[in-house]
């Protein structure tokens, strides 16, 4: 059934279309958006306060399907490569930058 899902938010409605049965159980993990090839799901990022959005607002925002696209799933696989491997480089560069700041306290920078 809704295999991407971890919490038990959606049920199968008539014709097999998913219905939002227990939205209060949503843990804001965004995974359902990845698995929905119809790009028909929008997860608001707010986890500790209730937000109301209308279908019109969501469609107008252009955000539907954004996560699936940037993740390079399905038809996007050639255009959006998974670059997770860059993560270790980012941490390394941050470590190097921090070490450099420590080695050169602000007052000394620029002195020969």
């Amino acid at each position: 059934m809704h295999r991407g899902l971890s919490a038990n938010v959606l049920d199968s409605g008539q014709d097999g279309l998913p219905i939002l049965a227990r939205v209060e159980d949503c843990q804001t993990c965004f995974v359902c958006e990845l698995y929905c090839q119809a790009d028909a799901i929008y997860v608001a990022p707010d986890c500790d306060r209730h937000v109301a959005v209308t279908a019109e607002e969501v469609v107008a925002s252009g955000r539907l399907g954004q996560y699936r696209k940037h993740s390079g799933w399905d038809e996007w696989s050639d255009r959006y490569p998974n670059e997770q491997w860059l993560m270790e480089t980012v941490f390394r560069r941050a470590g190097e930058a921090a070490a450099q700041v420590r080695a050169e306290p602000p007052g000394i920078i620029g002195r020969k």
Binding site: A7, A44, P45
Partner: protein, 445 residues
Amino acid sequence: MYRILDQTWRTLPTLARHYKFGADDEGRVNYRAVRGPEYMRALRQQVLSHGVTILDHSPVLELLARSDGSIGGARGQRRQDGGRAYRIEAGAVVLAAGGTSFLSHLLGSWTNTGNGYLMAPEAGAEMSGVEFTAAYTIAPAHSTMTRSMAYAFATYYDADGHELDLPFGPDQTIGLARALQRGPVYCSLHLLPDDIKARLHTISPNVPLVFDRWGIDPYRDRFEVTLHNDGTIRGIGGVRVHDVDGTTSVPGLFVAGDNASREKVAGAISGGGNVNSAWALSSGVFAGRTAACLSRGVKRSKSRLRPLGRVGREPRSGAQTVDLAALRDGVRAEMHPFDKNLFRTRQGLAASIRVLEGLWAELADHADTGTIASRETAALLATARWSVATAATRNESRGLHRREDFPSQDSGFATRLLSGGLDKVWVAADGPSANAETGQLEAAS
């Protein structure tokens, strides 16, 4: 540690049929980094391709024991099939039900209520290292997005707009927590190098979602941040293992991943960033292999299997309606605040012990439904009680465990602390250490 890393390196490439490993800018395939949703999808496909049956949305509620106490199966409910009960008989059981963040808003951890931490001790296994739960991860306030990479280049400000001195490094979380105790903290990511900004959505596609949907430009605007507790997920602690193959003190019961204590490979520090997932993968491979070998030799038990679940099913006194949501909120209120779980003190821990004992009594005395919710609540409460009792026993600071009243490390505590007990919590030292007295330590409750 060597065995864990070695097994991880052997196993990851076998996923290549289902996971598209990235090639770096020089064209070298990188097996070190896997992204969550794609990795989960690949593991699932791998398992299905071996002909394994997966029961989705079917939480196990309790283990089943043979007459000799060894574990011979499990029983649970099919959540998307009207709660229909199911029962599985098996030669051995591997518990891999994850850790717990005590229901913080840590990304993806809402179903991690520590169910395996309840079921293994009900069968007679011990817990180990559950005091090391004081790991926290940054996220934009009101979001679950605990992905820390971009924050390696973050600049922080207090409510008056003054920049805070919080350099990137191991002590950053502590400094951030102290700042958050004083008031709201704001963040800007303007120092993130431009080449990374341009690729953030293909490195971590979920990170920009939050900003985009709120109309925040994280490279120009200052946005409010918070810290979410990682519990045992990026912390340590779990069911005590006798070997990296997940052998527990109970015959027929194995544990793997976050369900198992990771102290053997991570020590007292967070295994976040790499050790955790290497441990999840390798301990699963080892536990599965050992459990399968054992199963081959097990004869089908003729006697009936005995269900081991008790708490939340069999009230000690009269059954009454129990407000489970209030009990869960009670756990969060003891396990998340910085002044209770991060900056620990004897008095604070003693107060938490009293509160948690009260909540436990309410559940154990009166809950009789045996539902998923009551078992999850029991698991959260049990884990919190063991964690706090062990933290109160470890009168020193070490790794993730920080005692304000004992700020330095004490070689007398260079030992793992075991814990357990449902009705009455106990804490004990595991084996000999440099100059500690072994055996039963003063139990904290």
